[in-house]
């Protein structure tokens, strides 16, 4: 069975992915702190956007547009419908930001 450098490379990639996701989480934290006037320690990845952060639609779209501009991605409503927690946002931004651009 040919598994050339497989485990190490995969670990390396996983580490990279985690790093990138941590960076996205940090960026999101900065945006939320500016938007909601809360301390970074108040925000956890498992918090929901609608209930825990109590975003109204305007705040939600301000946040979404900031993310779109920061990562040069598109977050249309049908993608946002599947997002509930901050961690979901991190995953979505990550998956869109690694997609090749046109």
């Amino acid at each position: 069975m040919d598994d050339t450098a497989d485990p190490r490379e995969r670990n390396m990639n996983e580490e990279d992915i985690m790093k990138k996701k941590d960076m996205i989480f940090e960026d999101i934290l900065k945006l939320l702190i500016a938007e909601l006037d809360v301390s970074p320690t108040d925000i956890r990845p498992d918090m929901t956007i609608a209930e825990d952060l109590k975003f109204d639609s305007l705040q939600l779209y301000e946040f979404v547009i900031d993310l779109e501009e920061a990562y040069d991605i598109r977050l249309p409503d049908d993608l946002l419908d599947n997002v509930s927690t901050i961690s979901d946002v991190v995953d979505l931004v990550y998956s869109l930001s690694i997609e090749p651009k046109d």
Partner: protein, 174 residues
Amino acid sequence: MQDIELELADRLVRIFENVLFTEEKSIQQGYFSNLSIAEMHTLDAIGPYDARTMTETAASLGITTGTLTVSIDRLVKKGYVVRNRDEKDRRIVRISLTREGKLACRMHGKYHKVLARHILEPYDDKEQRMLLDMVEEVDLYLQQQAARYDGSESIRKTAKEVADRKRRRNNDDG
């Protein structure tokens, strides 16, 4: 049969008037009250993502570029739209939404989505599909009727007049 025809005719007109009326109210009472319904639709036609040409945008709104120019001038002044020269061909002017424009466009999109969600809510998937098929038929028929007239500007004007009449009537009653 006569009753069904009358009822459908009546409901169609009422749906049309109320969609227009609530849409206008939702803008007036929302965060972007300095936008008219036509201006909101112009933002919608430009869209939150792309820098579009005047010709494309005018075509999707069914208006002339001359009419669009007047509307865009106002939207630029209000801070919702920016004009930029095309990077590849400097002769082409492209219009795109500012951050405020994007916000207005997305908030307004939400109004339409919530409306649709409430209408669909009582039905299961199969019924929703059926409802959509029937509405599609109605839409196609009305599009054919609309195509018999010159451009959609006159139709939009008529639509506005009907809504204004209805509002005046309501005001008189109240």
